[in-house]
Amino acid sequence: MMRAAVVRFPGSNCDMDALRAAERAGCRAYFVWHRDDDLQQADVVLLPGGFSYGDYLRSGAIARFSPIMQAVRRHAADGGPVLGICNGFQILCEAGLLPGALLPNAGLTFVSRPVPVRVENVATPFTTAYRKNELVHFPVAHGEGRFVAAPDTIEELEASDRVVLRYADGGNPNGSSADIAGICSSDGNVVGIMPHPERVADPAIGDDPGHKFFSSLAAWRAAAPDEQITTPA
């Protein structure tokens, strides 16, 4: 059984949704506190949405200095999967684990609604269960989700197929460059997305198009080289 660590920061508020989504996908999921420095042999790390440290200064700017982030950094450097959702994506960018930054929405309003997105990269540990360019509807809920990066960074993301999710059908809710809703690291193991698959991952509340973000992990693990697996199967 895969071990999934859900990091809790002061102000995290999608932590339980992330935990439940990972559990439903067959993971042994548990919380780790931001003051901890040990991921407890996690196979996968989830950075949930919320407003860590009140979003003071900039979203994610202070969370990145939490002791647990050192462990997350090592886990990522060893090839371990990391998924940052919404505030988690902001933290990954602030921590330099993903390029770019997330700025206040172009319309200045907090947007909270389902949006159409395409899953463009289906090679990451979180997306192998999707069809390439599969269209799904995920909720977004953010005030600072406008992805920006230097033009050559955007070019590189596009050229190396590192756009994981892209707002589709004119549904860009925040003015993100190139309609980018989520990206991954050059190795593909670190993924940051603004939409919330964990909020649509249980048929009890309707459709569950987000479930595959978590069920992909099993297929990824089955195909992963041994050295990427930190606990016995």
């Binding site: 200064l57 900039r58 700017a61 202070i62 930054a101 206040p104 200045l108 990066a149 003015g175």
Partner: protein, 83 residues
């Protein structure tokens, strides 16, 4: 010696600044003519104990690079005075 660092963090030129745009629209609606290029940033003040003005400036610059400004999207200006 004690110093006071005055830091101005501004959105990088060329990046869309929706706050600046909203403020500009409001100023125009208030009939302030000739208003243009409004940008909204943030001012931060930090008390710094250091051996010299140069050291205080250097420390402040490192604070900006590590935390106070986002190198991807923001520029910063520093002014350090004796406290």
């Amino acid at each position: 010696m004690n110093f006071r660092a005055h830091i101005r963090v501004m959105p990088r030129d060329g990046l869309l600044d929706p706050q600046g745009q909203a403020v500009e629209n409001a100023l125009t609606e208030l009939a302030f003519d000739g208003v243009s290029s409004v940008r909204v940033g943030r001012a931060i003040e930090v008390g710094v104990a250091a051996d010299s003005l140069e050291d205080a400036e250097d420390a402040t610059r490192r604070m900006c690079e590590r935390l106070l400004a986002n190198p991807v999207t923001e520029d910063f200006l520093i002014e350090v005075d004796p406290a």
